[in-house]
Amino acid sequence: MSKENSGRGPRHRGGGYGPRGIGRPVEKAKDFKGSLMRLRDYMRPHAWGLLLVLILAILSAVFNVFSPKIMGQATTILFEGMLAKMRGIPGAQIDFSAVGRILVVLASLYFASALFGFFQQLVMVGIAQKTVFKMREDISEKLRRLPLKYYDATAHGEVLSRVTNDVDTVSQSLQQSITQMLRSAISIVGVLIMMVNISLPMTLITLGMLPVSIGISVFIASRSQKFFVRQQRILGELNGHVEEIYTGHTIVKAYGLEEEAVTRFKQLNDELYDNGWKAQFVSGIIMPLIGFVGNIGYVAIAIAGGLFASRGIIALGDIQAFVQYSRQFTMPITQMASIANVLQSTVAAAERVFELLDEEEELPDSPAAVSLDKPQGEIVMRRVSFGYDPSKPIIKNLDLEVKPGQMVAIVGPTGAGKTTLVNLLMRFYDVGEGSITFDGRNIMDLKRGSLRTMFGMVLQDTWLFEGTVRENIAYGRQGASEQEVEAAAKASYVDHFIRTLPDGYETVLSEDAANISQGQKQLLTIARAILADPAVLILDEATSSVDTRTERLIQKAMGRLMKGRTSFVIAHRLSTIHDADRILVIKQGELVEEGTHSELLELGGFYAELYRSQFLTAASEVG
């Protein structure tokens, strides 16, 4: 659990208002150029589609750029007609046929622009979704191929966040930001040309406002980032506190720590508030201020335009058009201002996805790999050495021979390498030196999947997925019938318990299966293993949360099951391994003692001492 929680830190999704990213801290990619190139490669299958998007965007933007000018012409005609009338020129009137012609042109321009814009979006959405679909599929496929090493070393939250947040960021950017940016860039050029065309001095006024807007954004953004960073830190602390207190709920209750917890929460919460509103406020004033600057520009244009028009230098319709242009100009500029941010965070997100995709994979099965039809369960280890960190070997020169059908118990202090042994047997990790054979074949020459299904495993960490009890047990074997599932449950003495659940076998286990106890979970996983009917059983501390009496019952069932099967039992409690055919005592990765229970007691070594420490204390207190 803790591993999973550690990565749950909240990462903000892009806000829904204002240009995305302005005023918020931006994550930077480690290798911006490289990752950008890879993202481009990812998009390559859609090269034609993207070209189409580009063409459509240009068309849509161009048609859009022309329309204010055309509309202005209509206004000019109206104005001139009206002026003429006012001045009493005989026969003067508004030239309606000209206005009508212009309006028809205008309507077609609008229509064309909208149509191209629509198709551009349609194509782009398709491309974006296909790309992120593929990205997620690639990640999923990659996860299937990654060695256990990766899973053991990476926090789950980390992987989760790459599949959801990072992929989401990429999709958002592809779909919205990038096309918007494209249009903006085209608009800026087009609008600029049109503005210069109408009036150079007025264009200069508009351009003069630009540095002011940009200056304001940069100035405020740098300030607001500070608050956002601090807010993020406090939020992290607060979330940590919540997680901790909720996880320890019963203890909080039992010791009456509620008030203390609330006080601490309050303190963090107030701190969060102090920073939060400042961050919110400072980043929120960017838009109004830019708007204000825009309005100053508007006023300046109104005055200048008014002066020019009254001297007849410029047509009225052109002023109207210019006002529209200058509005159209500021919007894409502010959008462009955030391009750097959006691009940065997109590439950083993509980079994290690529990092995952670049992780080293499990060696594939060799083409000559076989699967065993009738596994016997003879296992031989020859001079096996292994360490998770090669410089720190956990298993050294281990020799081991297990005949089919034997029950082998592995005993030793924590960290002696017992669980590691299982990792090697099932090829979760590959041996460093030496070899392991199964029925005389090197396990490296067996198909991984076939090797693993020959083992039935009940691990320390019980794992059940969200689904019914029945589905969870049936996970052990595809296509198991209802009767088989229930028989397996009966064999592991969990049938009765299942039937006390509200919906019996159809009870849905919640996400972390909080509705059943640890011991019951283990019984379910045992049922699952029984159903799987494997050649070799591995019980790794399997029954540590089950009381010894139930455990004994399970062992009876297992005893029947283990007939003709090799089994490995790893346990701290010696009571569980009495009747093992062989007991292996492993200490610091080496086999130090080997034999039956009575042989080892006689030997008077480590096992005998361990045994005495467990039982004689109990006995001495009786006497």
Partner: protein, 575 residues
């Protein structure tokens, strides 16, 4: 959302102020085209240059006032939204702290964490957006309509014709878009769930060679998510151009009909230009509003989840006039206690009666699912029983204040829980006022002193969140020390010794027996060695008491006990 009103209420004055400011800002924005039309109609048409300058100056002032209102409304809006977030968060957290395990488990730890963090954050954001946008858009529309009607009410009829069209579009968004957005969220959660399970269960998946199966499961969730996303997006990208077209064709109509009216001398060109700008503003703000509809379901889902928590009454409450047994004895008595978990058909415990006395150890032993831990959980009143009674020194624990009851108990759970903080602080959770000496004494008894003192910073060593920097056994001993520091009347030890090796276990129990001399001790155990010396052993099987007595007594007549012992001890050790 409505049910959260009591939390929103304190911010109503601010919200009203924001509304007023937004209104002023909108009016300022709307005033600009109006002034512009004056420049056109009076300035340009009549060549009145000073008027152009003057009007320009006024425009600048209006713009400045607008900006000022915007900044101020933003300030107030930020204060209100973060304030609401703060209030909701503390309300939620306090509420959860009042929950008994029953309600707590109904939601689940993970879900409660998300609700307290993400959902509150979501509400806060939506409130802010509502203040900023949801108010702005209708005001803008209303203001625009006002100005339009003032300019030329006849021409304003054009806009009237648009209402049904816009109505249809909003209806489409509401009926098609909103459910899709909901299902989108659902599918995203599904993908997350599948992936999280695969990460956590990787060993099992590989052991059963179900990698392909899981891969397909993810693929299905992925495809489903992608298809829904595409659907949602297609609706969104259709709406945008349609809306734009609507606006543009409206302006064409305005020019055409406006031209007629100008020709008839009923309207001036500048007015028409202003009219054009107003109609655009009206339509854009309506568009913004429809976008808001898309966001609301998300917020209402979050709001729903918050309300669920806030409206769940804690199942365990203090009586109006709590009784308090006189401090002293510590006799705990169960009388015919029967307990069902909520919704269960079969009771976990039935007809349990026993008395635990001070100075004695009462041990409870039994199989998994026999109800041992549940029995222990009834004593601090984590759950209330359905029939029978539990009394402490003659007072029914349901008549006591929870804090009073629990202050008399020293509870050590099966899985040790520590909190981030120093070792000293952790032990002091047992008793806030414990002196350094008391802390050290508790640690010594709990066999924790050795490893604590080995640490560089001793009792000031920091325990990280979840206690990840101490071993399981150390955690357990610290958790015992915490209970010891409390010097409670009653110790509740839930299979406390299973994480310890036998040597430490034996030593600890000896020490414990000495220091908990006059206390009532109730131990739930799996190992027979733990219960050997208990004055009273209670054997549970399937929620019923099937045997009681000392070790020797039970050995001679309890069959279940004999089985348990046989499974654990060698014959010779027992004899």
């Amino acid at each position: 959302m409505w049910r959260l009103r009591q939390y929103i209420k304190p911010f109503l004055p601010i919200a009203l102020a924001v509304m007023a400011l937004v209104f002023l800002e909108v009016m300022a924005t709307l005033k600009l085209p109006d002034l512009m039309s004056e420049i056109v109609d009076l300035g340009i048409a009549q060549g009145d240059i000073p008027l152009i300058w003057r009007t320009g100056g006024v425009m600048l002032l209006v713009a400045l006032a607008g900006a000022f209102c915007a900044v101020l409304s933003n300030l107030l809006g930020s204060l209100a939204a973060t304030g609401l977030g703060r209030d909701l968060r503390i309300a939620l957290f306090s509420q959860v702290e009042r929950f008994a395990p029953q309600e707590f488990n109904k939601f689940g730890t993970a879900s409660l964490i998300t609700r307290t963090t993400n959902d509150v954050q979501q509400m806060q954001m939506v409130f802010l957006m509502t203040l900023r946008m949801a108010l702005r858009a209708p005001l803008m529309a209303a203001g625009g309509v006002l100005m339009v009607v003032k300019k030329d009410s006849r021409l304003a009829m054009i806009l009237l014709a648009l209402i049904p069209v816009i109505g249809v579009m909003i209806a489409i968004v509401l009926t098609k878009g909103v459910p899709l957005f909901k299902s989108l969220q659902h599918k995203l959660d599904r993908l997350n769930l599948v992936l999280r399970e695969q990460l956590m269960g990787v060993r099992v998946i590989r052991a059963f060679d179900r990698g392909m199966h899981e891969r397909e499961r993810f693929g299905r969730a992925n495809l489903d998510l992608t298809q829904t996303t595409l659907k949602v997006n297609r609706i969104m990208i259709t709406l945008m151009p349609v809306m734009t077209l609507l606006i543009n064709f409206t302006s064409i109509a305005i020019i055409w009909f406006g031209a007629k009216r100008i020709d008839a001398g009923l309207m001036q060109v500048g007015d028409m230009m202003a009219f054009l700008q107003y109609s655009m503003q009206i339509l854009w703000s309506i568009m913004m509003l429809s976008m808001l509809f898309v966001m609301l379901p998300r917020a209402s889902a979050s709001g729903e989840r918050l309300v669920e928590v806030l409206e769940t009454a804690p199942s365990i409450q203090d009586p109006p006039r709590p009784l308090s047994p006189r401090p002293g004895a510590g006799i705990l008595e169960f009388k015919n206690v029967t307990f069902y978990y909520p919704g269960a058909e079969v009771p976990v415990l039935s007809d349990i009666s026993f008395t635990a006395r001070p100075g004695q150890v009462t041990a409870i032993i039994g199989g998994t699912g026999s109800g041992k831990s549940t029995l222990l959980d009834l004593i601090p009143r984590f759950y209330d029983i359905q029939s029978g009674s539990i009394t402490l020194d003659g007072v029914d624990i349901r008549h006591m204040a929870q804090a009073d009851l629990r202050s008399r108990l020293g509870y050590v759970p099966q899985r040790a829980v520590l909190f981030s903080g120093t070792i000293k602080e952790n032990i002091r959770h047992g008793k806030k006022t414990a002196t350094d000496q008391e802390v050290a004494a508790a640690a010594r008894t709990a066999q924790a002193a050795d490893f604590i003192e080995e640490r560089e910073e001793g009792y000031d060593s920091y325990i990280s969140q979840g206690g990840t920097n101490v071993s399981g056994g150390q955690k357990q001993r610290l958790s015992i020390a915490r209970a010891l520091a409390r010097k409670p009347q009653i110790y509740l030890l839930d299979d406390t010794f299973s994480a310890l090796d036998y040597k430490t276990d034996a030593k600890l129990r000896r020490e414990l027996a000495r220091s908990a001399n006059n206390a009532t001790t109730i131990i739930v155990a799996q190992r027979v060695s733990t219960v050997l010396s208990a004055e009273q052993i209670i054997v549970l099987d399937a929620g019923r008491i099937v045997g009681r007595g000392t070790h020797q007594e039970l050995l001679s007549h309890s069959k279940v006990y004999q089985e348990i012992v046989a499974s654990q001890l060698d014959e010779e050790a027992v004899s």
